[in-house]
């Protein structure tokens, strides 16, 4: 009976088989009689009004105009859309089928690669992700040493242009492996490993020097004609990064990688963000002193070393928080695992189970993520003037058992169906036909 009521109650929401991208918000929408979890300003028992894609007001009582669509929440909850701070969503469809993958380019040095042009807005993975409340993802390419530039995508849109919230959001570097590996199946000699590492580190220094020189040349007013012909797309795309205008995302998990990356960024005066950050708990002093944020990807991982606690990966966010390091929580940003980004809310809950305050856990997948990836003026919390990118849920979205009932992206009413729900309903029909399922 409870389920039936829920069904009737939300029957006005969209639940189509085709998952049509939503049209722009045409009329003001008022969600009332619920709990509005603003993230930035506590929880308000009341209502939220949004119009033309923007939040207008949050208050206990809001009286709607005649043309406003009113939704009675009946005590349900409203949260800002969750943010996947790094991910490969839209770049990979089926990991083991190479023709469906577009997250890698040949070579080690591809700063000119941009993620959003490769983003497939019709990926079947996208609706399954937003079904769990993730409405925004920072999508990044993943190959080589310098992978390319990421784009922040909204999880709905007809084309990659519609879906782009911000481009570029940053340049991605896979920091060279700093440890000497021995044993097991690993056969490369220590000498060769060190050579490779030094070569990679030198090329990163060289990249910054070349980028700077190129940037200087481009700013020179009295350029010779041939210099215009020597435009280099790869160096061109580095200008904002070498000049410290945009952040460089350093993918680094191991402590020496983090230390080396911080030293590199200081030497060249760059803005960096650590992505992965599995060992970040061991370098909190360094990270805090240099104001370097961490996108922590490792909640669901095993201890790295024998002396680490069994719950090290779960409690690391709490340790970062206690040490005052700016951080957010992401699921694995590996493009091949983008389908599992739907579990992101639970990563935050597990961090809360192991010491992170609950409100900070929620913040770590909303506003904290928005701040680190540079979109907090627009999204990440429920505040007047920000995008109406939010969802209605049956309860705490970080708990696995909770369901997301309806999402809005920039005020647009999102189709909440996905491939999995379609198959679920299809096979329910089979068992109804067979008389096995009664309802």
């Amino acid at each position: 009976m409870k389920k039936l009521l829920l069904g009737l109650f939300f029957s006005s929401f969209i639940f189509a088989n085709e998952q049509i991208p939503a049209p722009p918000q045409k009329q003001p929408i008022l969600l009332k009689n619920g709990f509005i979890h603003t993230v930035s300003n506590g929880t308000i028992k009341g209502a939220i009004l949004f119009e033309n894609g923007k939040i207008i007001r949050i208050a206990e009582n809001i009286s709607p105009s005649i043309d406003t669509k009113v939704v009675d929440l009946q005590g349900k909850h409203v949260y800002p859309g969750l943010i996947a701070a790094v991910s490969g969503i839209g770049l990979v469809e089926i990991n083991a089928v190479p023709v469906t993958n577009d997250h890698s380019e040949r070579g080690d040095f591809n700063p000119n690669v941009r993620a959003n042009v490769a983003y497939n807005p019709d990926s079947e993975i996208i609706p399954t992700i937003r079904s769990n409340g993730i409405l925004i993802a920072n999508v990044a390419p993943g190959s080589g040493l310098v992978s390319g530039q990421s784009s922040i995508m909204m999880m709905d849109g007809w084309t990659w242009e519609n879906a782009t919230l911000l481009h570029p959001s940053g340049l991605h570097i896979n920091w060279p492996n700093m440890e000497i590996r021995t044993g097991g199946r690993f056969r490369m000699s220590a000498k060769r490993q060190i050579e490779q590492r030094q070569k990679a580190l030198k090329s990163l220094d060289k990249m910054i020097e070349q980028g700077r020189a190129y940037s200087k040349l481009r700013q020179t007013k009295t350029r010779k004609a041939e210099e215009y012909h020597n435009e280099d797309l790869r160096l061109e795309s580095l200008i904002e990064y070498v000049n410290g205008k945009l952040p460089i995302y350093i993918h680094a998990n191991e402590v020496r990688q983090i230390e080396a990356a911080v030293s590199w960024s200081k030497r060249h005066e760059l803005i960096i963000i650590i992505v992965g950050g599995k060992d970040a708990w061991r370098t909190t002093t360094l990270l805090k002193a240099n104001n370097i944020p961490v996108i922590y990807e490792s909640v669901t991982s095993l201890p790295s070393r024998r002396f680490e606690d069994y719950d090290q990966a779960y409690k690391s966010p709490a340790l970062l928080y206690q040490a005052g390091v700016q951080f957010c929580i992401a699921s694995s940003g590996s493009a091949g695992a983008s389908y599992n980004v739907r579990n992101l809310p639970n990563h935050a809950a597990m961090a809360a189970a192991y010491g992170l305050p609950k409100d900070i856990a929620l913040r770590s997948v909303t506003l904290s993520a928005a701040e680190i990836i540079g979109i907090d003026k627009q999204v990440g919390s429920l505040e007047p003037g920000k995008d109406a990118t939010l969802f209605i849920s049956s309860g705490d979205p970080l708990d696995i058992r909770t369901n997301i009932l309806q999402a809005y992206i920039q005020g647009r009413t999102i189709d909440m169906n996905d491939k999995h729900k379609t198959l679920y309903h299809k096979y329910q029909q089979k068992y109804r036909q067979l008389g096995i399922l009664k309802e």
């Binding site: 440890e179 021995t182 095993l302 739907r342 708990d399 696995i400 999995h420 679920y424 068992y431 096995i436």
Partner: protein
């Protein structure tokens, strides 16, 4: 084939499952459980008719073509069609939090919480034919149990104690003691190493990362947990 041993079969797609149940029936034996069984929800009535259990999981789709129709609702659909369902994982990381996997049967398909908890307790015990010993709290069964800080399906709950055969194998308090002990041992060893070079001893070469994650604790016998009875 004589029915003296349990037969478990890995499977993904419905055609594989159909094929093996038919062959087994031709030869007069039964598959105890289909493992992974990601498309079990498509032929749940066949699994039930054959008498096979299903041991599956909720995520991990879209990584190869055989699994593209894997859905989180698999467990619930099969359970509702009368199949004995359990959840498993072949990831050592994921396998240590099966309680949260069980919660996914509540999320995907709205299974009752008590039924979902069976996916990681009595149902797998039945599949392995060890349900007379474990899988539920009943008089006469092994004293194997967990003490949780809250509802085991809540994402905010943590395991506080585990007991096997009536003996405590883990407790948060004991673990806290062991952490302090180990960190002391570690620091002592590091100090000794540092001192040995200062005293003119030979410098050791860094060994790098070894593939061996687990080693015997026998070397540390003298540091036993004081709260534990011998």
């Amino acid at each position: 084939m004589e029915g003296t041993r349990l037969l478990h079969s890995h499977s993904y797609r419905q055609d594989e499952i159909l094929m093996l149940t038919r062959i087994a029936e031709d030869f007069g034996f039964t598959i105890a459980t289909f493992q992974h069984v990601l498309e079990g929800y498509k032929v749940a009535e066949r699994l039930a008719e054959h008498g096979a259990g299903a041991s599956t999981f909720s995520d991990w789709w879209a990584y190869k073509y055989e699994v593209v129709d894997a859905i989180g609702y698999n467990g619930t659909l099969m359970a509702n069609a009368g199949v004995n369902v359990s959840f498993n994982s072949d990831s050592d990381e994921l396998a240590r939090r099966m309680n949260l996997e069980a919660a996914k049967a509540v999320k995907y398909g709205g299974l009752e919480e008590a039924e979902a908890l069976k996916f990681v307790t009595i149902n797998p015990a039945k599949q392995l034919k060890i349900d007379k010993y474990v899988g539920s709290l009943e008089e006469g069964k092994d004293a194997d149990f967990v003490i949780w800080s809250g509802h085991p399906l809540s994402s905010y709950s943590i395991c506080e104690q585990t007991w096997l055969d009536g003996k405590q194998y883990f407790s948060i308090e004991q673990d806290k003691f062991l952490r302090e002990r180990d960190s002391k041992i570690r620091n002592d060893i590091i100090q000794k190493i540092l001192l040995s070079t200062e005293n003119g001893g030979e410098k050791m070469k860094a060994n790098g990362r070894s593939g061996n994650r687990f080693e015997s604790c026998d070397a540390f016998e003298s540091y036993t947990y004081k709260g534990e009875k011998e």
